[in-house]
Point group: D2
Chain length 300, copies 4
Amino acid sequence: MTAMNLRGVFAPIPTPFDRDERLDLDRLGAACERWAASPLSGLVVLGSTGEAVLLDELESERVLSLARERWPSGRTFIAGAGRESTAATIRAVGRAADLGADAVLVRTPGFYKSQMNNDAFVRHYRAVADASPVPVLLYNFTAVTGVNLPAAAVTTLAAHPNIIGIKESSGDIAQMTDLVAGTPEDFCVLAGSSTTFYSSLCMGAVGGVLALACVLPDACVRLFELTRDGRHAEAAALQHRLVPVAKLVGNMHGVPGLKAALQLAGCDAGVPRSPLAPVSAAAVAALREALMSFEEVARV
Amino acid sequence: MTAMNLRGVFAPIPTPFDRDERLDLDRLGAACERWAASPLSGLVVLGSTGEAVLLDELESERVLSLARERWPSGRTFIAGAGRESTAATIRAVGRAADLGADAVLVRTPGFYKSQMNNDAFVRHYRAVADASPVPVLLYNFTAVTGVNLPAAAVTTLAAHPNIIGIKESSGDIAQMTDLVAGTPEDFCVLAGSSTTFYSSLCMGAVGGVLALACVLPDACVRLFELTRDGRHAEAAALQHRLVPVAKLVGNMHGVPGLKAALQLAGCDAGVPRSPLAPVSAAAVAALREALMSFEEVARV
Amino acid sequence: MTAMNLRGVFAPIPTPFDRDERLDLDRLGAACERWAASPLSGLVVLGSTGEAVLLDELESERVLSLARERWPSGRTFIAGAGRESTAATIRAVGRAADLGADAVLVRTPGFYKSQMNNDAFVRHYRAVADASPVPVLLYNFTAVTGVNLPAAAVTTLAAHPNIIGIKESSGDIAQMTDLVAGTPEDFCVLAGSSTTFYSSLCMGAVGGVLALACVLPDACVRLFELTRDGRHAEAAALQHRLVPVAKLVGNMHGVPGLKAALQLAGCDAGVPRSPLAPVSAAAVAALREALMSFEEVARV
Amino acid sequence: MTAMNLRGVFAPIPTPFDRDERLDLDRLGAACERWAASPLSGLVVLGSTGEAVLLDELESERVLSLARERWPSGRTFIAGAGRESTAATIRAVGRAADLGADAVLVRTPGFYKSQMNNDAFVRHYRAVADASPVPVLLYNFTAVTGVNLPAAAVTTLAAHPNIIGIKESSGDIAQMTDLVAGTPEDFCVLAGSSTTFYSSLCMGAVGGVLALACVLPDACVRLFELTRDGRHAEAAALQHRLVPVAKLVGNMHGVPGLKAALQLAGCDAGVPRSPLAPVSAAAVAALREALMSFEEVARV
């Protein structure tokens, strides 16, 4: 159905803000060019890592436009477009398509948790997929949304011609295994957790959308390739070495940690927007040490 | 500081939609007049019960304008104004004040859960309270947001001259007790859970913002008055009788359950907006029976 | 059916150990006499607070014998007798009755959590109650067992002639309300959480089994009496003052905290048994301050 | 230090009871001979799967004696010996060694959850390992105990000469990765969850203690060997096929499900002991279908 590449490693890029917390498109453009020089399969713009929920609609459009412009046209470009209401999601999906997204990543609505059962998810995603001009990726991120998209709902939704895959961010390998087992071969399961990326690939994920890939794109792509090529001992060893950085950038310090790590890696993604705040000096020191340890071992 | 009444019972009113899920201001107006005829102390518009996260900014303003217009000017009128970013919250708070809100109810941001520590909450609320033209009520609803506003943060924030109280929706009486103990006498702690309203009042809450009060305003106000007047045996008995209805309208069926219960009580609040869906026929039957049981006992 | 008093305040007493962690019956006897001089309605021996799971069967019998001997025969004496298997529970219940227990308190089995559904609980408690020579109290302590005894199971079990009540330790007032509403008038619901004791009494609990009552028996009994006599404002004020001590003795420092608090109050209950360990000096200081604050306010 | 083999697949065997729920050593002996004919690396007797918490001490000794006698002396024989108190654990460990156990598996104490911090675990396991005549395996099974043994505590304890490994039953691959990374090469990390066994091996586990291996020992051993031999595609495919059976035998139906599955596989392990109960006819049918599906695919 689509020629778009969903294999490999995707970077869910952060949205730069300046010191006054205003959108900083210059920094965004420079960062996009940096990522374009890496072997990443594609970008995800306006995901959770992109502080999408802290942007208004106009800002969202400016981010999408600029990133699309700076990202090579032949490489996959995915836009986050989840909203709480079905109607707002459909509008966001349409705008993303207009602005050149190859596909949209649609987070589960999660505000009314007790009402979000199997049926509600199926209705929501069907309506969105019916209306979307571009293919839809489901997005399950329980730690953030507080709801879990059941494997049974994914199996049902995988039959929709405009739903092409899912990003599963739990890092729960049993759930990943269920998703792969319950969907057709051409349905793309993408891992969202860097600490279990290798295990996810082993169980049938075709790639990953990894915050860590913003900072260490080459290493993440190498982990993908080693696994694809059956070089499992090397892959496992690389996964082990990536874990300490992955933890700091992920759960522990979140988006502020990612922005600090990018700064240390020579890429200026600005500061986070309130209520998020820059990480402490101690966290920066821990990130610096983890990055240096990783590079040193890599050099040997 | 303010002459506004925060004692007693407040109804967090739902937002009516028509069959096409469009905002239905006629139904809203009619419902407001109905509530105005009851002994409620005030309304909360655009709270969680108001499906605020399913509305766009323009719709939010239309709801506020209309409700403000139909609600007696002498009675307290509170607007929900929580957003994920601090800046967007400040804008929402300003608009609510412009449209006549006496106070604003500001839900904790909760998307980036791992980053929402004591400091982040204090910074967020201070910035909002500094900027708000009207008094601010904190709002802790862990079951929905997935984060808990620590009692220590509330103690700190209670010292801000423009923060006048908190709505605590957990129904956790130990937490309610901590909030009352940790804040000055004139800081208003409001209960958000109908099943433990009487206990909350016993421990020092000055009132409640209760979804149940949309359906049974007189009974909820009577429960408040019995407790205030020291008629504890009657209050406890009334609380016991309200529990079955409160459960169905609350956790079990959420906003769709509330809209169904209102319909049964003769108040047409329309349908919920997707991804929410109307409750099943079985749920309507359970609601009808619970309401009838309540009325029968009440009549005796 | 029984003349035993289940109203009022019961102390779930700790089991003293000496420095070598051996059972210390001398300290136990002295402590029992101290509690006998207080207005407590009764004792619970070998409950969670009694480190029962750290004792072998022979030690359990020695504790029961000694405590029974030192406790006035006219006052209620309850023995904890929960075990993981139904058969072992029946044996423990029989031994407790032989040693003079007026009733037994039987904790829900909880090791095989996924199998402990409504049916399993009903079967277990029916078998135990059928076999027990003395009346049975159910015991729900989810924070420790990891399972919740559903209110529906309690309603079913309350019909058994040898099941006379329940100790509910969650401190969840909504659940307490459900238990009172779902059981006959003469079924005794006892609160297990000191921080919400007053609220539990307001909602129909007939008394409490409170670790705090080991340390402050007079104050706990006074809280019971004030509520019983309709002096609600005084009761709420006393509850507020008890919370800081209750927290330290309860969740925060557990049995080691209770033993430290007893020491400070002039009652030597020895040390806890490994893997439990005495609390830190900082915890002792916090307990001392909380106890002194309480006494000071009480004196005024 | 030890010549004992801890690589490969271990079966945590169930304890058979007859219709009157009495220990059934004949069935146990017959089952042991069956397992001895399989390529399992060893047995774990009196683990969670062995209903150890439902046995008294005398029964425990009879089970250990009989199983030890029927299990080939050259193959690894591990005894579960966890208790709540440190002293009782030391006694159980001593008895197990006397009865011929090559090593002991010691579950974390978990009753006093709020007190079980890093220090408490380290103290407990050091005391047990100091006293144990045979090597000690740590055992972390959070779903049952409600406590988590922190990776930091495992790193500390791995330095003890008599602590040789850990069974980690969470199925959390990130935690498994941390355990492998935080311990020396010769410290044995064993997986306890069948649904993620392959992923655990990929990340450095040296084997597994799998309830599923009681029912399908050959398939589990084959999964181990395929992974060891670098035949990853076949291993992943076999893991996928094992998941449906693993789920039914594991979380969903627990020990009763395992006993029913064994019966279907031609091995009579009797009934579970109360409060556990045999599974429903519907569960038996689901197990039969899952086992038949597995065998059919295996045959092709």
